[in-house]
Symmetry: C2
Subunit: 370 residues, 2 copies
């Protein structure tokens, strides 16, 4: 069958992914970012907290915001590119200056982070006239990425009504929502993603580690190799990497057995933790001295009966699934690399493999009870 | 069987989650945050980029960092609580002042965001003497949360060697890694999480929507309800909410059918998108006028044969799974609320339900091929 899902179909949602796409640029591909659209996965951003974030435009010290009422900006503007050394400060001239920026496809403006003025007085003047112009032009969301070397501009942007959106090591991203309507700007990243590797050999031994420094109450415990996936890393390769780094054992990813979703874990963000079944393809352990105190192959029975972890409901469920999976009585999700025509993006789709020749799936309550 | 996984066992990893836990505080529970530990899911943070982030302590304008060589700080210090109005500026006095903060359990320091000085000269002085003290005390990671109303302190912290870690609407979090060794501070959130709802009634009709504003190239398309989950929202409830908001249809969550992992989507972050199977428990459509142009029950065949989405490999796989699931030939992951003793945290574990009475799982290649 030729069957497909999802009909992306709106400026409302396209706005969001469009702006998202546009913002996934480094300082070196300012314009190219607009190609990074993902219409098939367009989604709506809703929620009172985010709307409140965008609608609240009062600055913390009570400085009033600059609108078209205060600054008449001519249509013919001078686009500031940061290169002028004799930049006049007359009101007449100031009103014409606009920050170097490009319009996104969805009614917003993305300021060029490479062409920001360094002088704070120049910046406040141009920022005000820019906002005034964008307001008269009916622009919506303004994206202002301030590189760390322009950190002096942060307090100015805050006082002009910008809000923090997110920050990475090299910059802070600030936003300003102009319209008198609910904000449609996408939210910041919301989750950390971790992986744990369950590796069992043909002797029914599980690969376990003891970390370098042990909290007293956890003395003597052996654990599975775990870690956070790196930036832009796959879940399947992150699990393999963690096991390799901590134990020296090479593995092949088989399946995601289960995942756990928890909230308010780090920085009030949420956490997704994927338990992965891996197949060992080597056996000689070589530990990472920096992180791991010891690693070994441990009899499954011995591993799970350690006093300090015995009796925990969550881990009983998880190990039950892993054991069932080893006995081919459980199915997790395997990974498949796919490209969708709608965003030309290579991504990883995790799902069970359905074999039409052998229907049944009788081992799962969830399939037969609905 | 009484079987469990994971043996958390190290200061190395405990450090990370410990600091994570400590940082999940608002400005109203400064001290209580240290309770928010999650030792069972402790994971290691690795990767050259993050280490580089922490090890690079030069400030952008070349101002040298302040160490113990420049400021001799007495052991008996005056802890600045932001309340003094006659704060002296003599060198002798300045050297004794330290920012109000508490030590975390893992060798780091968390500055109290409620007791920061407002005066920039006072702040730079106290920050320097604080760093000097913490250095002599052998402290590791310093966490400095600057509320938006203290935005004037951001450039100062940058010049003193702090780096942006992350930002939310109300604050920017900055960090400083003191030791001459790889940084162990946890990274910022790395993922957005979205959901899509596949809802089919007993007439083989799929619930679909057209968004309010339609990009020209996508004219005429019908799509599944989709959206991003809200802060601290569950995947299962987020999918139900999105469907309700966009179509007015009440549903019950059944399973996560599959999920897609993509990278460099928004703000160079990664994206996890969960396709959820929902069961309708109402039938009368009432659209959200703000977002949705139209919604309807659409014959499955008509839905999947829409010209604009026909032939896309990814969506063929997804709809095949949904159809197989409707025919009970596919199993996704159902949700189970669990509490682990190790963090006393209620969280959601997604997995297949194994029924020991009916083993087999013969419909899955992934189970029988390994």
């Amino acid at each position: 069958m030729d069957l497909k899902l999802f009909d992306p179909k709106s400026v409302f949602l396209s706005n969001l992914i469009g702006q998202k796409g546009m913002l996934s640029f480094s300082t070196f591909n300012f314009k190219a970012a607009s190609l990074n659209l993902s219409p098939f996965f367009i989604r709506s951003y809703k929620g009172a907290s985010h709307e409140a974030a965008c609608l609240s435009t009062s600055s913390p010290d009570g400085v009033s915001l600059v609108g078209k009422e205060q600054y008449g900006v001519e249509t013919h503007t001078y686009r500031y590119d940061g290169s002028s050394t004799n930049f006049g400060s007359s009101i007449l001239f100031r009103e014409k200056r606009v920050l170097d920026a490009f319009d996104d496809e969805y009614g917003g403006v993305v300021v060029n982070p490479e062409k920001l003025p360094s002088d704070t007085d120049v910046f406040v003047s141009i920022l005000r006239s820019s906002l005034s112009l964008w307001r008269t032009e009916g622009k919506k969301g303004i994206w202002l990425k301030l590189p760390v070397e322009k950190c002096d501009l942060v307090p100015i942007a805050i006082r002009e009504g910008f809000q923090y959106h997110h920050a990475e090591r090299g910059y802070v991203m600030m936003t300003y929502w102009i319209p008198d309507e609910p904000c449609m700007l996408p939210a910041n990243a919301s989750h950390q993603v971790g992986v744990g590797g369950f590796v069992m050999n043909d002797k029914n031994e599980v690969l376990v580690v003891q970390e370098k420094h042990c909290a007293p109450e956890l003395a003597g415990l052996w654990k599975l190799p775990t870690g956070f996936i790196l930036e832009s890393e796959e879940i399947f390769s992150g699990a393999v990497r963690e096991v390799k780094e901590e134990t020296g054992i090479d593995t092949e990813f088989l399946e995601v057995i289960a995942f756990r979703h928890a909230h308010n874990v780090a920085f009030e963000k949420s956490d997704l933790f994927f338990i992965c079944m891996l197949r060992p393809v080597s056996s000689d352990i070589k530990i990472d001295d920096l992180e791991v105190q010891a690693a070994k192959w441990m009899a499954l029975r011995e591993f799970v009966e350690q006093p300090l972890i015995k009796g925990d409901n969550m881990f009983k469920k998880i190990i039950d699934m892993c054991i069932a999976r080893m006995g081919k009585r459980y199915c997790g999700l395997s990974v498949h690399k796919v490209v969708s025509k709608f965003d030309n993006r290579l991504s990883s789709l995790y799902y069970n493999v359905v074999d039409d020749q052998r229907l049944g799936c009788s081992s799962h309550d969830s399939c037969t009870s609905t």
